[in-house]
Protein backbone atom coordinates (compact mmCIF):
# COMPACT_ATOMS: atom_id res chain seq x y z
CA UNK A 1 0.00 0.00 0.00
CA UNK A 2 1.34 3.37 -0.91
CA UNK A 3 0.29 6.97 -0.56
CA UNK A 4 -2.64 7.95 1.62
CA UNK A 5 -3.85 4.41 2.15
CA UNK A 6 -0.68 3.52 3.99
CA UNK A 7 -1.02 6.52 6.30
CA UNK A 8 -4.30 5.26 7.75
CA UNK A 9 -3.53 2.59 10.33
CA UNK A 10 -4.96 -0.89 9.63
CA UNK A 11 -7.05 -0.82 12.82
CA UNK A 12 -8.63 2.38 11.61
CA UNK A 13 -9.82 0.72 8.43
CA UNK A 14 -11.63 -1.90 10.37
CA UNK A 15 -13.25 0.75 12.56
CA UNK A 16 -14.40 2.81 9.60
CA UNK A 17 -15.71 -0.33 7.98
CA UNK A 18 -17.73 -1.08 11.07
CA UNK A 19 -19.40 2.32 11.04
CA UNK A 20 -19.94 2.19 7.30
CA UNK A 21 -21.56 -1.23 7.48
CA UNK A 22 -23.87 0.02 10.19
CA UNK A 23 -25.03 2.99 8.16
CA UNK A 24 -25.33 1.00 4.95
CA UNK A 25 -27.34 -1.80 6.52
CA UNK A 26 -29.64 0.69 8.22
CA UNK A 27 -30.26 2.64 5.06
CA UNK A 28 -30.81 -0.51 3.04
CA UNK A 29 -33.23 -1.90 5.62
CA UNK A 30 -35.16 1.37 5.60
CA UNK A 31 -35.46 1.32 1.86
CA UNK A 32 -36.40 -2.33 1.59
CA UNK A 33 -38.91 -2.43 4.42
CA UNK A 34 -40.47 0.71 3.04
CA UNK A 35 -40.84 -0.76 -0.40
CA UNK A 36 -42.37 -3.96 0.86
CA UNK A 37 -44.92 -2.59 3.27
CA UNK A 38 -48.16 -0.74 2.85
CA UNK A 39 -47.94 3.01 2.41
CA UNK A 40 -49.36 3.92 5.76
CA UNK A 41 -47.11 1.51 7.66
CA UNK A 42 -43.67 2.48 6.45
CA UNK A 43 -42.12 4.54 3.72
CA UNK A 44 -38.85 3.89 1.88
CA UNK A 45 -35.87 6.10 2.59
CA UNK A 46 -36.13 7.81 -0.76
CA UNK A 47 -39.79 8.75 -0.27
CA UNK A 48 -39.02 9.97 3.21
CA UNK A 49 -36.30 12.23 1.93
CA UNK A 50 -38.49 13.66 -0.77
CA UNK A 51 -41.22 14.31 1.86
CA UNK A 52 -38.58 16.12 3.85
CA UNK A 53 -37.82 18.21 0.83
CA UNK A 54 -41.44 19.23 0.33
CA UNK A 55 -41.93 19.96 4.02
CA UNK A 56 -39.03 22.34 3.88
CA UNK A 57 -40.07 23.99 0.66
CA UNK A 58 -43.70 24.51 1.64
CA UNK A 59 -42.58 26.15 4.86
CA UNK A 60 -44.35 23.87 7.33
CA UNK A 61 -41.14 22.40 8.70
CA UNK A 62 -39.28 25.71 9.09
CA UNK A 63 -42.19 27.35 10.89
CA UNK A 64 -42.63 24.33 13.14
CA UNK A 65 -38.93 24.47 13.97
CA UNK A 66 -39.14 28.16 14.77
CA UNK A 67 -42.13 27.65 17.05
CA UNK A 68 -40.54 24.72 18.84
CA UNK A 69 -37.27 26.54 19.17
CA UNK A 70 -38.78 29.58 20.84
CA UNK A 71 -40.75 27.48 23.33
CA UNK A 72 -37.79 25.29 24.11
CA UNK A 73 -35.19 28.01 24.58
CA UNK A 74 -37.46 30.08 26.81
CA UNK A 75 -38.49 27.19 29.02
CA UNK A 76 -35.02 25.70 29.29
CA UNK A 77 -33.32 29.04 30.00
CA UNK A 78 -35.69 29.90 32.84
CA UNK A 79 -35.38 26.37 34.22
CA UNK A 80 -31.58 26.48 34.19
CA UNK A 81 -31.32 29.87 35.87
CA UNK A 82 -33.96 29.04 38.49
CA UNK A 83 -32.60 25.54 39.08
CA UNK A 84 -29.05 26.78 39.55
CA UNK A 85 -30.09 29.56 41.93
CA UNK A 86 -32.34 27.40 44.06
CA UNK A 87 -29.88 24.51 44.03
CA UNK A 88 -27.10 26.71 45.38
CA UNK A 89 -29.39 28.36 47.90
CA UNK A 90 -30.56 25.04 49.25
CA UNK A 91 -26.99 23.81 49.47
CA UNK A 92 -26.03 26.71 51.72
CA UNK A 93 -29.17 26.67 53.88
CA UNK A 94 -29.36 23.17 55.27
CA UNK A 95 -32.66 23.38 57.12
CA UNK A 96 -34.43 24.88 54.11
CA UNK A 97 -33.12 22.12 51.93
CA UNK A 98 -34.08 19.33 54.29
CA UNK A 99 -37.56 20.79 54.73
CA UNK A 100 -38.24 20.76 50.98
CA UNK A 101 -36.30 17.62 50.18
CA UNK A 102 -39.08 14.98 50.19
CA UNK A 103 -41.28 17.16 47.98
CA UNK A 104 -38.50 17.84 45.51
CA UNK A 105 -37.69 14.13 45.33
CA UNK A 106 -41.36 13.39 44.65
CA UNK A 107 -41.51 16.04 41.92
CA UNK A 108 -38.27 14.80 40.38
CA UNK A 109 -39.81 11.33 40.08
CA UNK A 110 -43.16 12.58 38.78
CA UNK A 111 -43.94 11.91 35.12
CA UNK A 112 -44.56 15.56 34.28
CA UNK A 113 -46.52 14.56 31.20
CA UNK A 114 -49.40 13.68 33.47
CA UNK A 115 -49.65 17.32 34.55
CA UNK A 116 -50.32 18.53 31.04
CA UNK A 117 -54.13 18.03 31.15
CA UNK A 118 -54.28 20.04 34.38
CA UNK A 119 -52.29 22.83 32.85
CA UNK A 120 -54.49 22.81 29.79
CA UNK A 121 -57.55 23.22 31.98
CA UNK A 122 -55.92 25.94 34.02
CA UNK A 123 -54.26 28.17 31.43
CA UNK A 124 -55.29 26.81 28.06
CA UNK A 125 -53.34 26.53 24.82
CA UNK A 126 -50.53 28.52 23.35
CA UNK A 127 -46.99 29.68 23.89
CA UNK A 128 -46.80 30.17 27.67
CA UNK A 129 -48.45 26.91 28.70
CA UNK A 130 -45.93 25.08 26.54
CA UNK A 131 -43.08 27.04 28.06
CA UNK A 132 -44.33 26.10 31.51
CA UNK A 133 -44.33 22.42 30.55
CA UNK A 134 -40.75 22.65 29.26
CA UNK A 135 -39.82 24.45 32.47
CA UNK A 136 -41.36 21.72 34.64
CA UNK A 137 -39.47 19.04 32.76
CA UNK A 138 -36.13 20.85 32.84
CA UNK A 139 -36.08 22.46 36.27
CA UNK A 140 -35.59 19.47 38.56
CA UNK A 141 -32.49 17.87 37.08
CA UNK A 142 -30.74 21.25 37.18
CA UNK A 143 -31.79 21.91 40.77
CA UNK A 144 -30.77 18.44 41.90
CA UNK A 145 -27.40 18.40 40.21
CA UNK A 146 -26.53 21.93 41.36
CA UNK A 147 -27.61 21.22 44.90
CA UNK A 148 -25.70 17.99 45.08
CA UNK A 149 -22.65 19.73 43.71
CA UNK A 150 -22.76 22.73 46.01
CA UNK A 151 -23.37 20.44 48.97
CA UNK A 152 -20.30 18.41 48.23
CA UNK A 153 -17.81 21.23 48.64
CA UNK A 154 -15.05 19.84 50.80
CA UNK A 155 -15.25 21.53 54.19
CA UNK A 156 -11.49 21.96 54.00
CA UNK A 157 -11.87 24.39 51.12
CA UNK A 158 -14.44 26.38 53.06
CA UNK A 159 -12.00 26.41 55.98
CA UNK A 160 -9.34 27.84 53.73
CA UNK A 161 -11.71 30.55 52.57
CA UNK A 162 -12.62 31.42 56.13
CA UNK A 163 -9.00 31.45 57.25
CA UNK A 164 -8.36 34.16 54.68
CA UNK A 165 -11.28 36.21 55.98
CA UNK A 166 -13.60 35.68 53.02
CA UNK A 167 -17.00 37.34 53.36
CA UNK A 168 -20.20 35.46 52.54
CA UNK A 169 -20.56 37.22 49.18
CA UNK A 170 -17.01 36.41 48.28
CA UNK A 171 -17.48 32.77 49.26
CA UNK A 172 -20.25 32.59 46.68
CA UNK A 173 -18.15 34.27 44.03
CA UNK A 174 -14.82 32.58 44.63
CA UNK A 175 -15.79 29.18 46.03
CA UNK A 176 -19.39 28.03 45.73
CA UNK A 177 -20.15 29.11 42.18
CA UNK A 178 -16.90 28.02 40.53
CA UNK A 179 -17.03 24.70 42.36
CA UNK A 180 -20.62 24.04 41.44
CA UNK A 181 -20.37 24.99 37.77
CA UNK A 182 -19.36 21.51 36.52
CA UNK A 183 -22.21 19.89 38.43
CA UNK A 184 -24.55 22.50 37.04
CA UNK A 185 -23.43 21.54 33.53
CA UNK A 186 -24.27 17.90 34.16
CA UNK A 187 -27.71 19.04 35.25
CA UNK A 188 -27.96 21.19 32.12
CA UNK A 189 -27.20 18.22 29.92
CA UNK A 190 -30.00 16.24 31.60
CA UNK A 191 -32.32 19.23 31.44
CA UNK A 192 -31.74 19.68 27.71
CA UNK A 193 -32.85 16.09 27.11
CA UNK A 194 -35.86 16.23 29.38
CA UNK A 195 -36.87 19.64 28.11
CA UNK A 196 -37.03 18.26 24.62
CA UNK A 197 -39.41 15.53 25.76
CA UNK A 198 -41.51 18.18 27.46
CA UNK A 199 -41.57 20.32 24.36
CA UNK A 200 -42.79 17.50 22.13
CA UNK A 201 -45.36 16.36 24.69
CA UNK A 202 -46.63 19.89 25.13
CA UNK A 203 -46.91 20.29 21.39
CA UNK A 204 -48.95 17.09 21.16
CA UNK A 205 -51.66 18.45 23.44
CA UNK A 206 -51.30 22.20 23.71
CA UNK A 207 -50.74 22.55 19.98
CA UNK A 208 -50.68 25.75 17.98
CA UNK A 209 -47.50 25.01 16.14
CA UNK A 210 -44.28 23.12 16.70
CA UNK A 211 -42.79 19.83 15.59
CA UNK A 212 -44.96 17.71 17.89
CA UNK A 213 -48.12 19.27 16.61
CA UNK A 214 -46.95 18.63 13.07
CA UNK A 215 -46.50 14.96 13.91
CA UNK A 216 -50.04 14.69 15.29
CA UNK A 217 -51.53 16.25 12.19
CA UNK A 218 -49.57 13.92 9.95
CA UNK A 219 -50.54 10.86 11.98
CA UNK A 220 -54.20 11.76 11.60
CA UNK A 221 -53.64 11.91 7.87
CA UNK A 222 -51.67 8.64 7.89
CA UNK A 223 -48.89 10.48 6.09
CA UNK A 224 -46.18 8.09 7.25
CA UNK A 225 -43.37 9.31 5.02
CA UNK A 226 -43.87 12.85 6.33
CA UNK A 227 -43.92 11.55 9.89
CA UNK A 228 -40.66 9.73 9.32
CA UNK A 229 -39.17 12.88 7.86
CA UNK A 230 -40.14 14.98 10.86
CA UNK A 231 -38.93 12.24 13.22
CA UNK A 232 -35.60 12.35 11.45
CA UNK A 233 -35.40 16.10 12.00
CA UNK A 234 -36.32 15.69 15.67
CA UNK A 235 -33.63 13.04 16.06
CA UNK A 236 -31.09 15.39 14.54
CA UNK A 237 -32.14 18.17 16.93
CA UNK A 238 -31.80 15.76 19.85
CA UNK A 239 -28.35 14.62 18.79
CA UNK A 240 -27.13 18.20 18.38
CA UNK A 241 -28.48 19.23 21.79
CA UNK A 242 -26.88 16.24 23.50
CA UNK A 243 -23.56 17.01 21.86
CA UNK A 244 -23.84 20.60 23.09
CA UNK A 245 -24.68 19.38 26.58
CA UNK A 246 -21.68 17.08 26.68
CA UNK A 247 -19.44 19.83 25.36
CA UNK A 248 -20.57 22.17 28.16
CA UNK A 249 -19.92 19.43 30.68
CA UNK A 250 -16.41 18.77 29.42
CA UNK A 251 -15.55 22.43 29.15
CA UNK A 252 -16.39 23.17 32.75
CA UNK A 253 -14.87 20.02 34.15
CA UNK A 254 -11.38 20.96 33.02
CA UNK A 255 -10.06 21.38 36.53
CA UNK A 256 -11.65 18.22 37.87
CA UNK A 257 -9.15 15.44 37.65
CA UNK A 258 -10.75 12.72 39.71
CA UNK A 259 -14.53 12.65 39.91
Amino acid sequence: MTGWRARVAPGRWRALLGYAVGIAVGAAAWQLIGLHSANFVFAPLTTTLSSLGSLISDGSLPSALASSFSVYVTGAAVAIVAGAAIGMLFARRALLRKAFEPYLVALYATPMVALIPFLLALIGFGFWPKVIVVFLFSFFPVEFATQRGAQSIAPELLDVARAFRTSENQIWRHVVIPYTLPYLMTGVRQALARGLVGMISAEFFLSAGGLGSLLITQSEQFDTSAMLAVTLVITLVGVILMAMGRAFERQFARWRVTS
Partner: protein, 305 residues
Protein backbone atom coordinates in the same frame (compact mmCIF):
# COMPACT_ATOMS: atom_id res chain seq x y z
CA UNK B 1 22.38 2.17 81.56
CA UNK B 2 19.26 2.55 83.59
CA UNK B 3 16.31 0.23 83.20
CA UNK B 4 14.50 2.96 81.35
CA UNK B 5 17.19 3.27 78.73
CA UNK B 6 17.00 -0.40 77.87
CA UNK B 7 13.51 0.15 76.57
CA UNK B 8 14.51 2.88 74.20
CA UNK B 9 15.58 2.07 70.70
CA UNK B 10 19.32 2.27 70.29
CA UNK B 11 19.24 5.51 68.37
CA UNK B 12 17.50 7.29 71.19
CA UNK B 13 19.93 6.29 73.88
CA UNK B 14 22.37 8.92 75.00
CA UNK B 15 25.39 8.29 77.11
CA UNK B 16 24.97 9.43 80.70
CA UNK B 17 27.96 11.75 80.14
CA UNK B 18 26.39 13.48 77.19
CA UNK B 19 23.19 13.96 79.09
CA UNK B 20 24.98 15.45 82.04
CA UNK B 21 26.94 17.74 79.77
CA UNK B 22 23.88 19.19 78.14
CA UNK B 23 21.66 20.55 80.76
CA UNK B 24 18.44 21.28 79.02
CA UNK B 25 16.88 24.49 80.17
CA UNK B 26 13.29 23.48 80.08
CA UNK B 27 10.31 25.37 81.29
CA UNK B 28 8.16 23.08 83.33
CA UNK B 29 4.48 23.54 83.00
CA UNK B 30 1.82 22.09 85.18
CA UNK B 31 1.01 18.52 84.41
CA UNK B 32 -2.24 17.23 85.81
CA UNK B 33 -1.26 13.92 87.37
CA UNK B 34 -3.38 10.96 86.58
CA UNK B 35 -5.09 12.80 83.77
CA UNK B 36 -5.61 10.81 80.65
CA UNK B 37 -4.87 7.51 82.31
CA UNK B 38 -7.56 5.37 83.80
CA UNK B 39 -10.14 7.63 82.25
CA UNK B 40 -12.49 6.13 79.68
CA UNK B 41 -11.45 6.83 76.11
CA UNK B 42 -14.21 9.39 75.97
CA UNK B 43 -15.96 7.60 73.17
CA UNK B 44 -18.58 5.97 75.35
CA UNK B 45 -19.40 9.22 77.09
CA UNK B 46 -19.42 11.15 73.83
CA UNK B 47 -21.83 8.77 72.14
CA UNK B 48 -24.53 9.55 74.68
CA UNK B 49 -24.39 13.28 74.10
CA UNK B 50 -23.92 13.02 70.36
CA UNK B 51 -26.79 10.57 69.95
CA UNK B 52 -29.01 12.96 71.87
CA UNK B 53 -28.05 15.85 69.61
CA UNK B 54 -28.66 13.72 66.51
CA UNK B 55 -32.12 12.76 67.76
CA UNK B 56 -32.98 16.38 68.35
CA UNK B 57 -31.86 17.31 64.87
CA UNK B 58 -33.91 14.55 63.29
CA UNK B 59 -37.04 15.73 65.08
CA UNK B 60 -36.36 19.27 63.98
CA UNK B 61 -35.99 18.21 60.34
CA UNK B 62 -39.13 16.08 60.53
CA UNK B 63 -41.15 18.97 61.90
CA UNK B 64 -39.75 21.32 59.26
CA UNK B 65 -40.80 18.89 56.54
CA UNK B 66 -44.29 18.45 57.89
CA UNK B 67 -44.65 22.21 58.28
CA UNK B 68 -43.49 22.81 54.71
CA UNK B 69 -45.90 20.20 53.39
CA UNK B 70 -48.82 21.65 55.28
CA UNK B 71 -47.81 25.13 54.14
CA UNK B 72 -47.82 24.07 50.50
CA UNK B 73 -51.23 22.42 50.80
CA UNK B 74 -52.74 25.40 52.58
CA UNK B 75 -51.35 27.81 49.99
CA UNK B 76 -52.72 25.61 47.21
CA UNK B 77 -56.16 25.38 48.78
CA UNK B 78 -56.40 29.10 49.46
CA UNK B 79 -55.20 30.16 46.00
CA UNK B 80 -57.44 27.69 44.23
CA UNK B 81 -60.50 28.64 46.26
CA UNK B 82 -59.93 32.35 45.80
CA UNK B 83 -58.64 32.62 42.24
CA UNK B 84 -59.54 29.56 40.20
CA UNK B 85 -62.76 28.10 38.79
CA UNK B 86 -64.50 25.42 40.83
CA UNK B 87 -63.33 22.46 38.80
CA UNK B 88 -59.61 23.11 39.44
CA UNK B 89 -58.11 20.51 41.75
CA UNK B 90 -57.50 21.41 45.36
CA UNK B 91 -56.37 19.42 48.42
CA UNK B 92 -59.71 19.32 50.26
CA UNK B 93 -61.50 18.41 47.08
CA UNK B 94 -59.04 15.64 46.41
CA UNK B 95 -59.52 14.27 49.90
CA UNK B 96 -63.25 14.41 49.43
CA UNK B 97 -63.07 12.25 46.34
CA UNK B 98 -61.06 9.50 48.02
CA UNK B 99 -63.99 7.20 48.84
CA UNK B 100 -65.48 7.64 45.38
CA UNK B 101 -62.29 6.96 43.51
CA UNK B 102 -60.93 4.22 45.69
CA UNK B 103 -64.28 2.48 45.65
CA UNK B 104 -64.48 2.66 41.90
CA UNK B 105 -63.66 -0.63 40.19
CA UNK B 106 -62.74 1.04 36.93
CA UNK B 107 -60.14 3.17 38.68
CA UNK B 108 -58.33 0.14 40.01
CA UNK B 109 -58.54 -1.63 36.70
CA UNK B 110 -57.02 1.45 35.08
CA UNK B 111 -54.25 1.56 37.67
CA UNK B 112 -53.56 -2.13 37.18
CA UNK B 113 -53.47 -1.70 33.45
CA UNK B 114 -50.81 0.99 33.55
CA UNK B 115 -48.71 -0.70 36.21
CA UNK B 116 -48.83 -4.00 34.37
CA UNK B 117 -47.82 -2.41 31.09
CA UNK B 118 -44.88 -0.62 32.71
CA UNK B 119 -43.69 -3.75 34.51
CA UNK B 120 -44.05 -5.96 31.44
CA UNK B 121 -42.28 -3.46 29.25
CA UNK B 122 -39.46 -3.01 31.77
CA UNK B 123 -38.83 -6.73 32.02
CA UNK B 124 -38.69 -7.15 28.25
CA UNK B 125 -36.46 -4.11 27.91
CA UNK B 126 -34.09 -5.21 30.65
CA UNK B 127 -33.64 -8.69 29.23
CA UNK B 128 -33.07 -7.63 25.65
CA UNK B 129 -31.28 -4.45 26.57
CA UNK B 130 -28.74 -6.24 28.73
CA UNK B 131 -27.94 -8.77 26.02
CA UNK B 132 -27.60 -6.18 23.30
CA UNK B 133 -25.66 -3.86 25.58
CA UNK B 134 -23.23 -6.58 26.61
CA UNK B 135 -22.60 -7.63 23.04
CA UNK B 136 -22.07 -4.02 22.03
CA UNK B 137 -19.78 -3.41 24.96
CA UNK B 138 -17.53 -6.36 24.33
CA UNK B 139 -17.58 -6.91 20.58
CA UNK B 140 -16.01 -3.90 18.93
CA UNK B 141 -17.45 -4.50 15.48
CA UNK B 142 -21.02 -4.77 16.69
CA UNK B 143 -20.46 -1.67 18.78
CA UNK B 144 -19.39 0.35 15.79
CA UNK B 145 -22.22 -0.89 13.63
CA UNK B 146 -24.96 -0.12 16.14
CA UNK B 147 -23.42 2.93 17.83
CA UNK B 148 -25.01 5.46 15.53
CA UNK B 149 -28.52 4.13 16.10
CA UNK B 150 -28.24 3.65 19.84
CA UNK B 151 -26.76 7.11 20.36
CA UNK B 152 -29.35 8.74 18.11
CA UNK B 153 -32.32 7.03 19.69
CA UNK B 154 -30.94 7.75 23.14
CA UNK B 155 -30.54 11.43 22.33
CA UNK B 156 -33.97 11.93 20.80
CA UNK B 157 -37.24 12.45 22.66
CA UNK B 158 -38.74 9.00 22.17
CA UNK B 159 -42.24 10.30 22.79
CA UNK B 160 -41.95 11.66 19.26
CA UNK B 161 -42.34 8.07 18.10
CA UNK B 162 -45.71 7.60 19.79
CA UNK B 163 -47.84 8.88 16.90
CA UNK B 164 -45.93 6.60 14.54
CA UNK B 165 -46.37 3.64 16.84
CA UNK B 166 -50.10 4.27 17.05
CA UNK B 167 -50.23 4.16 13.29
CA UNK B 168 -48.52 0.79 13.31
CA UNK B 169 -50.18 -0.84 16.29
CA UNK B 170 -53.41 1.07 16.30
CA UNK B 171 -54.98 2.50 19.41
CA UNK B 172 -54.31 -0.70 21.34
CA UNK B 173 -52.46 -1.70 24.52
CA UNK B 174 -49.82 -3.17 22.26
CA UNK B 175 -48.88 0.32 21.16
CA UNK B 176 -48.42 1.36 24.78
CA UNK B 177 -46.31 -1.72 25.45
CA UNK B 178 -44.19 -0.95 22.42
CA UNK B 179 -43.65 2.62 23.66
CA UNK B 180 -42.67 1.42 27.13
CA UNK B 181 -40.29 -1.18 25.74
CA UNK B 182 -38.54 1.29 23.45
CA UNK B 183 -38.32 3.96 26.17
CA UNK B 184 -36.80 1.51 28.64
CA UNK B 185 -34.63 -0.31 26.13
CA UNK B 186 -32.42 2.62 25.21
CA UNK B 187 -31.05 3.60 28.62
CA UNK B 188 -30.39 -0.05 29.46
CA UNK B 189 -28.49 -0.69 26.22
CA UNK B 190 -26.62 2.58 26.55
CA UNK B 191 -25.56 2.03 30.14
CA UNK B 192 -24.65 -1.64 29.81
CA UNK B 193 -22.67 -0.95 26.65
CA UNK B 194 -20.78 1.79 28.43
CA UNK B 195 -20.09 -0.60 31.27
CA UNK B 196 -18.85 -3.25 28.94
CA UNK B 197 -16.60 -0.82 27.13
CA UNK B 198 -15.05 0.52 30.27
CA UNK B 199 -14.34 -2.87 31.78
CA UNK B 200 -10.68 -2.70 32.59
CA UNK B 201 -8.58 -4.90 30.38
CA UNK B 202 -6.71 -5.99 33.49
CA UNK B 203 -9.58 -8.14 34.65
CA UNK B 204 -9.97 -10.03 31.42
CA UNK B 205 -6.20 -10.36 31.05
CA UNK B 206 -6.03 -12.19 34.36
CA UNK B 207 -8.80 -14.54 33.32
CA UNK B 208 -7.19 -15.24 29.99
CA UNK B 209 -3.80 -15.78 31.58
CA UNK B 210 -5.44 -18.57 33.54
CA UNK B 211 -6.98 -19.87 30.31
CA UNK B 212 -10.51 -19.37 31.54
CA UNK B 213 -13.17 -20.40 29.00
CA UNK B 214 -15.21 -17.59 27.45
CA UNK B 215 -18.34 -18.33 29.40
CA UNK B 216 -16.43 -18.05 32.66
CA UNK B 217 -15.12 -14.66 31.64
CA UNK B 218 -18.62 -13.53 30.88
CA UNK B 219 -20.32 -14.94 33.96
CA UNK B 220 -17.56 -14.26 36.43
CA UNK B 221 -16.18 -10.93 35.30
CA UNK B 222 -18.18 -9.11 32.67
CA UNK B 223 -21.58 -9.59 34.26
CA UNK B 224 -20.71 -8.56 37.81
CA UNK B 225 -18.65 -5.63 36.55
CA UNK B 226 -21.53 -4.47 34.39
CA UNK B 227 -24.04 -4.71 37.20
CA UNK B 228 -23.76 -1.13 38.48
CA UNK B 229 -24.12 0.20 34.96
CA UNK B 230 -27.16 -2.00 34.42
CA UNK B 231 -28.74 -0.80 37.63
CA UNK B 232 -28.08 2.80 36.67
CA UNK B 233 -29.69 2.15 33.32
CA UNK B 234 -32.73 0.57 34.96
CA UNK B 235 -33.11 3.58 37.23
CA UNK B 236 -33.34 5.82 34.16
CA UNK B 237 -35.56 3.33 32.37
CA UNK B 238 -38.22 3.35 35.06
CA UNK B 239 -38.81 7.06 34.74
CA UNK B 240 -38.87 7.02 30.97
CA UNK B 241 -41.16 3.99 30.88
CA UNK B 242 -43.76 5.80 32.98
CA UNK B 243 -43.65 8.87 30.76
CA UNK B 244 -44.02 6.70 27.68
CA UNK B 245 -47.00 4.83 29.12
CA UNK B 246 -48.83 8.03 30.01
CA UNK B 247 -48.23 9.66 26.63
CA UNK B 248 -49.40 6.51 24.84
CA UNK B 249 -52.55 6.43 26.93
CA UNK B 250 -53.20 10.11 26.22
CA UNK B 251 -52.86 9.74 22.49
CA UNK B 252 -54.49 6.33 22.09
CA UNK B 253 -57.16 6.73 24.77
CA UNK B 254 -56.19 3.46 26.38
CA UNK B 255 -57.58 2.32 29.69
CA UNK B 256 -55.02 3.38 32.28
CA UNK B 257 -54.08 5.94 34.89
CA UNK B 258 -52.99 8.42 32.24
CA UNK B 259 -56.23 8.20 30.39
CA UNK B 260 -58.16 8.28 33.67
CA UNK B 261 -56.51 11.62 34.37
CA UNK B 262 -57.26 12.97 30.91
CA UNK B 263 -60.85 11.83 30.96
CA UNK B 264 -61.61 13.25 34.37
CA UNK B 265 -59.96 16.59 33.68
CA UNK B 266 -62.04 16.91 30.54
CA UNK B 267 -65.14 16.02 32.57
CA UNK B 268 -64.33 18.73 35.09
CA UNK B 269 -63.62 16.14 37.75
CA UNK B 270 -60.11 17.34 38.43
CA UNK B 271 -60.06 16.22 42.02
CA UNK B 272 -60.44 12.63 40.91
CA UNK B 273 -57.79 13.11 38.28
CA UNK B 274 -55.43 14.56 40.88
CA UNK B 275 -55.94 11.47 43.00
CA UNK B 276 -54.89 9.32 40.08
CA UNK B 277 -51.90 11.61 39.67
CA UNK B 278 -50.97 11.07 43.30
CA UNK B 279 -51.12 7.34 42.77
CA UNK B 280 -48.87 7.65 39.73
CA UNK B 281 -46.31 9.57 41.75
CA UNK B 282 -46.60 7.07 44.59
CA UNK B 283 -45.92 4.25 42.17
CA UNK B 284 -42.95 6.08 40.68
CA UNK B 285 -41.50 6.73 44.13
CA UNK B 286 -42.23 3.25 45.39
CA UNK B 287 -40.12 1.79 42.63
CA UNK B 288 -37.40 4.41 42.21
CA UNK B 289 -36.56 5.42 45.77
CA UNK B 290 -35.74 1.96 47.17
CA UNK B 291 -33.92 1.29 43.92
CA UNK B 292 -31.62 4.29 44.11
CA UNK B 293 -31.12 3.72 47.83
CA UNK B 294 -30.05 0.17 47.08
CA UNK B 295 -27.71 1.36 44.34
CA UNK B 296 -26.19 4.02 46.56
CA UNK B 297 -25.68 1.63 49.45
CA UNK B 298 -24.46 -1.48 47.68
CA UNK B 299 -22.51 0.30 44.98
CA UNK B 300 -21.32 3.53 46.57
CA UNK B 301 -18.48 3.84 44.13
CA UNK B 302 -20.77 4.03 41.14
CA UNK B 303 -21.87 7.41 39.89
CA UNK B 304 -25.10 7.73 37.95
CA UNK B 305 -24.93 9.83 34.80
Amino acid sequence: MSAADRNLPAAARTSPDARRAQRLPVMRRGIAPGRGAGRPSGLEEASGAEAEAARRERTQVFLARVATGIGILVLWQVCAAALAPGYIARPLGVLGQVPTVFGDQSFWSAAGSTVLAVVEGLIIAIVFGTVIGLVMGRVRDVDRALRLYVDSFYAMPLVALVPLLTVWFGYTPLARLAVVVIEALLPVIFSVAEGGRSLSAEFTDVARAYRAPWWRIWAGIVLPASLPYLLGGIDLAIGRALVGAVVAEFIASLNGLGYYILFNVRSFQEDRAMLAMVLLVAFALAVRVPFSMFVRRELPWYRAG
